[in-house]
Symmetry: C2
Subunit: 337 residues, 2 copies
């Protein structure tokens, strides 16, 4: 490994001069600076992150906390897309991304300690149990954090605007003439609450009454549970004319159930998903859904985290709402009511 010392010897300048020259310090003469850079290049020099970090306390590395009890994890297209975007933007800004776990070197350690151990400059937290005391410890620590899709006190949070999303869906479905709209929702999380809230408020605004049995609990990313809920809805005395699903993927369960009942989408019943994943756009009929802007979510997460790191003193925590986009698709039929 070629070090700064080697360059120092070869070029005749001291290590301090070499270091400064390579870092573009202004107190080094132009010619010597050029010379040193040339020598460094010739020798194939690259700095050692560990040594640099030891002095500067800047690792140029962000951690990501990304645990899912659901086992879906990286396989969940929404989160993997967000994560991918975080990674891309972080890279663009000169940061690497490391996964943070609970054990390292075979010894268990808390998330916070892990971050300290790896000297993460900051960490983005997503898809995680926000009640876990270890997560709370991390968020409340001195390490800059941003959370995704969850607001924790006054920490910086990047939020997909689920209220507007649910709202837009209801509005569109209403515009297509539907008045009997059912909503199968996911587990009780803040995301779900916002969607429900958007659903209810828009219904109220539009003067639609929502029977209690039009609201069914299910689980995200779980076609089986949404299939069951669908069955219950279809068996109602007065079934809905349109069903909204927790997400595009779990709609598949509904799709099967609807088919089993001998019904056709959208002629006999209309449906809508959520997320706007790739799948939703290749299904036929194309699924009506609300596309979350995963790219913007990830990008903003990375940007704000790095801003918080860089302007540590002046940065003020904020909540950023990322809006999505209604993809009308063909799964909601225009009807006269």
């Amino acid at each position: 490994m070629v070090t700064i010392k080697d360059i120092s010897k070869k070029s005749g300048f001291s290590t301090s001069t070499v270091s400064k020259a390579l870092n573009g310090s202004s107190e080094i003469g132009e010619e010597t600076s050029e010379l040193i850079k040339k020598v460094a290049n010739e020798m194939g020099y690259f700095p050692n992150a560990a040594a640099r970090l030891l002095k500067t306390k800047q690792s140029n590395n962000i951690g990501v906390l990304f645990i899912d009890e659901m086992q879906s994890g990286l396989a969940h297209e929404y989160f993997s897309a967000v994560l991918n975007s975080v990674k891309d933007e972080a890279e663009r800004l000169g940061y690497d991304m490391t996964f943070i776990s609970r054990n390292i070197g075979r010894k268990p350690m808390s998330y916070y300690n892990h971050c300290k151990y790896r000297n993460c400059d900051g960490v983005v937290i997503a898809c995680v149990d926000f009640n876990d005391p270890e997560v709370v410890e991390l968020i409340q620590s001195e390490i800059p954090t941003v959370t995704i899709d969850h607001i924790f006190n006054d920490c910086t949070a990047i939020m997909s605007d689920n209220l507007k999303g649910a709202s837009a869906l209801v509005q569109h479905i209403y515009d297509m003439g539907h008045r009997k709209i059912a909503f199968i929702h996911g587990e009780n999380t803040s995301v779900t609450q916002r969607r429900l809230s958007g659903f209810y408020s828009t219904c109220r605004k539009l003067g639609i009454s929502v029977p209690n049995d039009y609201i069914k609990p299910a689980r995200y990313h779980d076609p089986k549970s949404s299939g069951l809920a669908t069955r219950e809805l279809l068996n109602l005395k007065d079934p809905p004319s349109c069903i909204m699903y927790p997400d595009d993927f779990s709609f598949i369960g509904g799709m099967n159930e609807i088919e089993k009942h001998g019904l056709k989408i959208p002629d006999d019943i209309s449906v809508a998903g959520y997320d706007g994943i790739y799948l939703s756009q290749v299904l036929r009929p194309q699924l009506c859904t609300f596309k979350q802007n995963t790219e913007a979510l990830g990008k903003e997460a990375a940007r704000n985290l790095i801003a918080a790191i860089t302007d540590r003193k002046t940065f003020v925590p904020k909540q950023i709402w990322i809006e999505g986009e209604l993809l009308a698709g063909k799964s909601v039929k225009k009807i006269d009511f």
Copy 2:
């Protein structure tokens, strides 16, 4: 930050003793060892990875090279599942995982240099352009690497056994009575070549003749292209009775096309996918597919990489074939021919 020096002061032992005690060296007395550990705990000590690394040259960190020109990236369930498994096993063995990119600190650098800079102990390479000279440079460097689904000279490679997979599918389809089997395959990669080879050899073994126009090129993870290929197949004078797709997801394109032709799966035509992703198991009829063992793939990748790191001198590169599992599903109908 509490350091070894602080513990040294508080406990009255030298830093060397503290270091040894904390690392469980046998040359430290039992009682002092206990005492030191207690003090360390009380003070909330955790080692600093950078400082440790600087001495030991062991980062306990592996890099992953994971670039996709296709934009699918982490969104591709197969790869994200493999990656997830790599991560889990690496964590279990005490390693962290960092993404390797081409630029760091806003300055471009080669993959190899990036790994050096971050002191990665090793790197797993997946879903990447293996013709990229920078990738070649990395593989041929002194840094231990394992590749996934690609054999590069005599480097360690973890391979999903695509030959057996394609073979098993053909065998099953044959057993169900089909003799007219079409294969829509993905881009020309080594994976595709193996599947084709498994397809052809099994057909030959079973005495099935395969017309040239039963073999259609398409792209992985791209329902549009496989939809087109499906249309061509259905319009043939003598269409196949069963179509094999590049992967489960791209089958969706075929599904739409088949429906558009007014055909029913599996009564009018049989189909099979590849991968065994979650989607394939929730579709109705359940898709006949070959499930790749993503968990084993990731686990073996992590294990072998770490073995190569640990037993640097004695480890001999090898190729490991991971077998999958046929999921018969319901999309291939039993017919009399």
